[in-house]
Amino acid sequence: MKLDGSLYLSSEEIVIEFQGVEKSFGEQLVLDGIDLTVMKGETLVIVGASGQGKSVILKHMLGLMSPDGGKVNVLGKDITKIGRRELTEVRKRFGVLFQNAALLDSMSVFDNVALPVRERTDYTEGEIAKLVMDRLEMVDLEGAGDKYPAQLSGGMRKRAGLARALVLDPEVVFFDEPTTGLDVHKSNEIYRLFRKTRDRLGYTAVIVSHDAPKIFKLADKVALLAEKKIQVLLPPEKFQLCDNPTVRSFVLATMGPVYDSAREEVMA
């Protein structure tokens, strides 16, 4: 079943495609037949209750986990079948923010953000410093470059992780809960930043978030993960009005009854 009606889109526009992906850890089945497509330039937001497997989905996209069944295609490559070298080439086009930010804790924030640049380009230290300071400013951390991750607050670590993910202008970004742990102002700031960089770079994005409904403003499509499956994959407006009972209860829980009346208006 194609959930988003994307049957007739040409294959080179598909950036990420999941076909019947299954994954268990020991006895515990976490993903049971996940189908997903993300088109070029699109922003997919994955929502769902805690512990449902959103991060696991992301790790499949990154090639960090391989499915027990089904297929994961990323940028035209079957990511579970390609060798290490090819996988590295694919990952050069990624920008990744982990749920726990995963900064290298024996390096300063500046060095963390500079790391991909140092390792993958031959920029001079001067160019690197300029680029890194620009990214740190972007996430409001220009004063924290000398600090070590352990000296940062949770939200600051997240922002440093964002700066690192965006430092080399990625084509595809994966953000696992980019605004969890940030105050309202900071998360609004991140959303603005996200929109700005996306407009400038035109990247494809997969965002896992608990920040519904705010995150919907950024989304081209919303996927709800519940009961080991993607329940629906819909544009946010349609998602909020969807009849699927799981989606209904999610929407009601996150948005309250305000949207209910809107729905009744539309239904009427």
Partner: protein
Amino acid sequence: MRIFKVIAEDFLFYMAMAGRMTIFFFRAIAAAATPPYKISEIIRQLDFIGARSMFVILFTGLFTGMVLGLQGYHLLKNYGSVAALGAGVGLSLVRELGPVLTCLMVIGRAGSAMCAEIGIMRNSEQIDALECMAIDPVRFLIAPKFIATLISVPLLICIFGVIGIFGGYIVGVQIFDVSWGGYFQSLYDSVGWDDLRMGLWKSLVFSLLIVWINTGKGYFLHMERDGGFGAEGVSRATTGAVVLSSVSILVMDYLINALMI
């Protein structure tokens, strides 16, 4: 029936582990042998593994030599050939005690730290993050440790030998009545190129074992039987790595002796 299943599972687990570790070894060697070298990281590791082990090695080397001098002197006195003390001290240090004791000290000081460092990075997804940044964690984290260990452990072994011979000299010549000339002449006469070559081989093989087992145990922490979770997982893996690398060094010591004598 159940017991067969358990045995088969165990067997498969250890075979898989051996396979992973072997591939890991060759990846690390390949990364260590080819540029670009991470010079600053190698220097940092040289400092940690080599320079900061100096004091311990000087200390253990000196006392090992002194004990050898003491024991050897009383033994040789019975045969009236105390002048052979230099030969006894020198040969034991160059062929056996230098390499083995130095490596055991390095494992305790640096090997355990390597395992813990890599293990914590594995646990907190830092290694995954490196991979996602298209940075090869083996090249980035492991190769500098291989290079630094391969440089510093053989040097530490040499230092251990020299200071040990000096320790034997203090006891034999300064405290007891072995002559200065006799001590060094017998040393010079008996310790030959063969012995140095044996010492060199051991130091190379042992350093590889140390760095391989300790980094590997940390790198594959998440593949451990019990999951390697959290602080306890790291401490368990570190203990395991220290024990395994110490034991393998003693076993390898025997094998090298058996092959080269």
